[in-house]
């Protein structure tokens, strides 16, 4: 009965209570509902991680067959990390949505969608029946769409939402093809059919099947080139939804890919290489575009693509490790990838909450219009800084631990295998290094321009620190980030059973022993570094206590009347970089030349457009539109014609069997001759 309670009963009761309740308590009811299902599912998940898997089968009628509901270690890991972010998001959202008071119906729909979305994600992780999986996947997509278009009166939001809805359905089409392929041959919808099929199918068929699933799940996860919906949907959604989407909804795609790898259980080498190459590309492309964005949330959205790339690199390397029988690479890759899933869900949701605080304080997301916010919003600034350091993968925060695991796997494995393998490994390492360096450029820009210096424009609204209702969930996330950074051992221990599913028990033991002693030393080094900073900081305080400090204006190199307009902007900060990558990215620059004795006001603006989007989405759509346009004459607006179309359609439907019979008869005749 537990799955029913979890998936249907709790959200249903909460939904009725929401509709009946007053506006002030709506968010509390939603939070309670989410909390209850999170508690129950986390309980199941923790047990599954400890080895007591949860399994339940019920008969779903003639169409579905037996629907297996199972929580294994892999699903448990994803459920636990999802629950944490869904909870912080609902509590942050409670505070964030106060700005929209008075929209009763809209808020009802929003919170009900939130509950449904949570249940649907739980379903995605638990259901092991492909038809039922497609149902919960669809419910998840639609509820996420409703969450995104909360501000549906803005045309941009609606466009972004519909973009997301369409791409979600392209994803579902690919999943359907994959699942139908299997069920057509194996005559069952159970997931185990994939394993049975892959065992006896040719490698080419198995790889093709994986590629189909990879595209389907990759659209949801945001791998390049299937990423184009992400930079629209994230900025359009309210902050807590962006955080939740980027933190956990796109991770269902990662889960799907890992589940398929686990189910197929063959061709590890080829599958791993495919995932690895796509991931390196995604990581680099995502961060390269992120740097030149002007909209804070769009910048963060491109960073999600980058981090999906890092996660994918871990998974790809893990699969390659299993393929070549290198247990260390397998463990480090899968553990690094899975840990990065958790890490990214933490710091990315924190960054989106931070962007929500900024948006509600100054009502803009244009980075170039910000500046000096650290003085008005010091707490948000510190929280944002921690998240920025973590996402750059810098010690002593959590992002470093997962990237370190991946590096460790790479350098330990570099000397096993042939030239091609070594080249692939060194390329991955270089990719990861470049991603890290570019991320630092991006987040020094984001943090430095938003929070430091002075305001570049006068804010239309008085910027004030966010209320505690928003800050407390953010502090909870920071606590987790610090915990992973300072006690990585504990979390890697949790990863043992999910990784074991891929590598096998004997395999994992030896590798884990080496990894854990290294991680232990890493932990000492991390603590040592924090101690060192503290010691130097206090020494500095003691030594400078007696010397005088004077406050003055910023040194303007002799120019006495500098003002805020002279500051470096985000665009000028990344100008050198932009010049360097201009051949690869499409950056359009418009500027008016200042000339004459009495010059007029000049302007300069840069617009970045995603080249892949124009090649893979815009161009084909233009072609399709042009083709379909030829049938415009059918839409002539007179009712008589439409009645005629209807009649023709009905006639064809009725005549179709007769036509088939006639054709069959003709064939028979020809055969007899």
């Amino acid at each position: 009965m537990l799955p029913f309670v979890l998936l249907i009963f709790i959200p249903l009761v909460a939904a009725f209570a929401l509709v009946a309740s007053g506006e002030r308590v709506k968010a509390w009811i939603a939070a309670t509902g989410v909390l209850l299902s999170a508690l129950v599912s986390s309980f199941i998940a923790v047990q599954a991680l400890q080895g007591n898997g949860f399994g339940y089968t019920y008969y779903g009628g003639q169409i579905f067959g037996d629907v297996r509901i199972t929580v294994d270690a892999l699903a448990a890991w994803f459920i636990l990390l999802m629950n944490f972010t869904v909870l912080t998001a609902v509590f942050y959202g409670r505070s964030y949505m106060k700005a929209y008071h008075g929209m009763k119906a809209n808020l009802n729909l929003h919170w009900i969608s939130y509950l449904v979305n949570h249940s649907a994600m739980l379903g995605v992780y638990m259901v092991h029946n492909s038809l039922a999986f497609l149902v919960v996947w669809e419910v998840m997509a639609i509820s996420a769409f409703l969450l995104v278009i909360f501000e549906h009166w803005k045309i941009e939001t609606l466009k972004a939402g519909i973009n997301y809805l369409i791409q979600s359905h392209v994803s579902i089409v690919f999943l359907m093809i994959g699942f139908l392929w299997i069920s057509g041959i194996q005559h069952t919808y159970d997931f185990s059919a994939i394993t049975d099929y892959a065992r006896q199918a040719s490698p080419a068929a198995g790889i093709l099947l994986f590629v189909i699933f990879f595209i389907g799940f990759g659209i949801k996860a945001g791998f390049v080139p299937f990423h184009t919906w992400l930079p629209y949907a994230h900025p359009a959604a309210p902050a807590h939804i962006s955080g939740m989407m980027s933190g956990v909804i796109i991770k269902t795609g990662i889960y799907g890919i890992m589940r398929v790898i686990l189910l197929e259980n063959t061709n590890f080498m080829v599958i791993g290489t495919i995932v690895l190459v796509v991931s390196i590309f995604s990581g680099l492309y995502g961060v390269m575009l992120a740097i030149v964005q002007h909209n804070l949330k769009r910048l963060l959205a491109y960073h999600s693509i980058e981090n999906i790339g890092i996660i994918g690199m871990g998974i790809g390397l893990g699969a390659i490790g299993v393929g070549i029988g290198n247990s260390f690479l397998a463990f480090a890759g899968f553990a690094g990838g899975l840990l990065h899933v958790l890490n990214h869900s933490l710091f990315k949701s924190l960054l989106f909450y931070g962007s929500g605080n900024i948006y509600q304080a100054i009502h803009t997301l244009n980075i170039d219009g910000m500046g000096g916010l650290m003085k008005q919003m010091p707490r948000t600034a510190i929280l944002f800084l921690i998240a920025a350091l973590a996402i750059c993968g810098l010690p002593p925060f959590n992002g470093f631990v997962s990237e370190f695991l991946i590096y460790l796997g790479l350098f330990e494995a570099i000397h096993s295998g042939q030239f091609e393998f070594t080249a692939l490994i060194i390329l991955s390492a270089l990719g990861l290094v470049l991603i890290g360096g570019l991320a630092i450029l991006c987040f020094t820009k984001a943090f430095g321009i938003i929070f430091l210096g002075t305001a570049r424009h006068e804010y239309r609204h008085h910027a004030a620190e966010a209320e505690p209702g928003k800050l407390i969930p953010m502090v909870a996330v920071v606590a987790m980030i610090a915990a992973i950074g300072l006690f990585p051992q504990f979390f890697i221990e949790f990863l043992r059973s999910p990784v074991q599913q891929f590598t096998g028990e004997v395999f994992v033991n030896g590798a884990q022993l080496t990894v854990s002693s290294t991680i232990q030393n890493l932990t000492w080094a991390t603590w040592g570094f924090i101690l060192l900073v503290a010691v130097i900081w206090f020494a500095r305080k003691r030594l400078t206590a007696s010397s005088s400090t004077v406050a003055g204006p910023t040194w303007g190199c002799g120019y006495q009347t500098s003002d805020a307009r002279l500051q470096y902007t985000a665009s000028s900060f990344v100008r050198n970089y932009r010049k360097l990558v201009e051949p690869i990215l499409s950056v359009k620059k418009h500027k008016s030349v200042i000339s004459g004795i009495v010059p007029e006001k000049g302007h300069s603006s840069t617009h970045v457009y995603d080249l892949l989007e124009s090649a893979l989405i815009d161009h084909p759509i233009r072609r399709i539109k042009a083709f379909i346009g030829r049938f415009n004459f059918l839409q002539n607006g007179s009712v008589q014609f439409y009645v005629l179309y209807g009649v023709i359609f009905i006639f064809i439907i009725i005549a179709f069997p007769l036509l088939v019979d006639a054709v069959v008869f003709l064939f028979e005749l020809v055969k007899q001759l």
Partner: protein, 302 residues
């Protein structure tokens, strides 16, 4: 611990030797070797001026920058003695902790709201990101060659025996020298003696720092030089050498390193800003040669 002490000692002389070399080559006597250290000591006792624009980040940044380099030095082995911290993949931590210091020095510069410091920060961020792949390519090649993944084990097992390996050793020293020049913003990437803020990289980032913080930043530069010098020295201090050999070798290499930098700065002009990325990427391609050399040695390619 020995490497920490030796690096700190070397850092006291390093900039002095560079400056002395430059002045001798240009026909001047120049200041004494300890003049840079005397300047830093003077700064440590001075008061500070803080801009009204800057805040907490600006005050914290020099401390983190200094601590990051000290932390990185703790990883550097001395011959067959590992550093204070040593574990598999420690050079990743080494690079990332330096990156953390860089992050703070960049946001510290942006905290002042000065257009000049923003400019310097932008350049520093780009150049150090471009230099990073070369270091990882170098360490990756060594990991491939020795089958080890920590500084101590890599330098402990590294032997230069064949002709290819001599070439690799020379190229690796060249790469480390170039990285040291880029990371410390010296010629040909940046001219520390220029008087035009528009053409500076590192100097223009620290325009607003004064007193104790400025002293910390200057000493960090010295330490960074000595740190890269120690990495080069480590390639020649392999197992079997006793301390009475290795310490003179170490000091000799550091001295030579400083001398070369002084000579480079005397005879080489600074690049135009937009040529710097090309120069830095060239270092990566040299590192790629090292990688190919290692593949040749291992017989992975013919």
């Amino acid at each position: 611990m020995l490497s920490l002490i030796l690096i700190v000692v070397a850092s006291f002389f390093f900039t002095g030797i560079i400056i002395r070399t430059k002045s001798l080559l240009s026909g001047r006597m120049g200041p004494g070797i300890f003049q840079p250290m005397k300047d830093i000591w003077r700064l440590f006792r001075k008061g500070s001026v803080y801009s009204e624009t800057s805040g907490f980040v600006f005050k914290l940044a020099p401390t983190v920058y200094f601590a990051s380099v000290i932390m990185a030095i703790l990883f550097i082995p001395f011959g067959n003695q590992p550093g204070l911290f040593s574990f598999e993949g420690d050079f990743v931590f080494f690079a990332y902790v330096l990156a953390l210091g860089k992050f703070f020095s960049i946001i510290g510069a942006l905290d002042t709201g000065s257009s000049f410091e923003g400019m310097g920060a932008s350049r520093e961020a780009l150049y150090s990101l471009l230099a990073e792949p070369a270091f990882f390519l170098l360490m990756g090649s060594f990991a491939l060659l020795t089958g080890q993944t920590s500084f101590a084990d890599i330098f402990g097992t590294l032997h230069f025996t064949s002709q290819i390996s001599y070439a690799i050793g020379a190229l690796a020293s060249l790469v480390l020298l170039a990285i040291a020049l880029i990371e410390n913003s010296r010629m040909p990437v940046d001219d520390p003696k220029t008087h035009l803020e528009l053409t500076m990289v590192h100097e223009v980032m620290i325009l607003d720092n004064s007193g104790f913080d400025l002293g910390l930043i200057l000493q960090t530069t010295n330490l960074k030089f000595a740190m890269y010098g120690a990495l080069v020295a480590n390639m020649f201090l392999t197992r079997g050498y006793e301390i009475y050999y290795s310490i003179p070798i170490f000091i000799g290499v550091q001295f030579l390193f400083a001398l070369i930098i002084g000579v480079i700065e005397s005879f080489w002009a600074r690049f135009r800003m937009n040529h710097n990325p090309q120069f830095i990427l060239m270092i990566t391609s040299i590192a790629l040669f090292i990688f190919l050399g290692v593949l040749l040695m291992l017989g992975k390619i013919v």
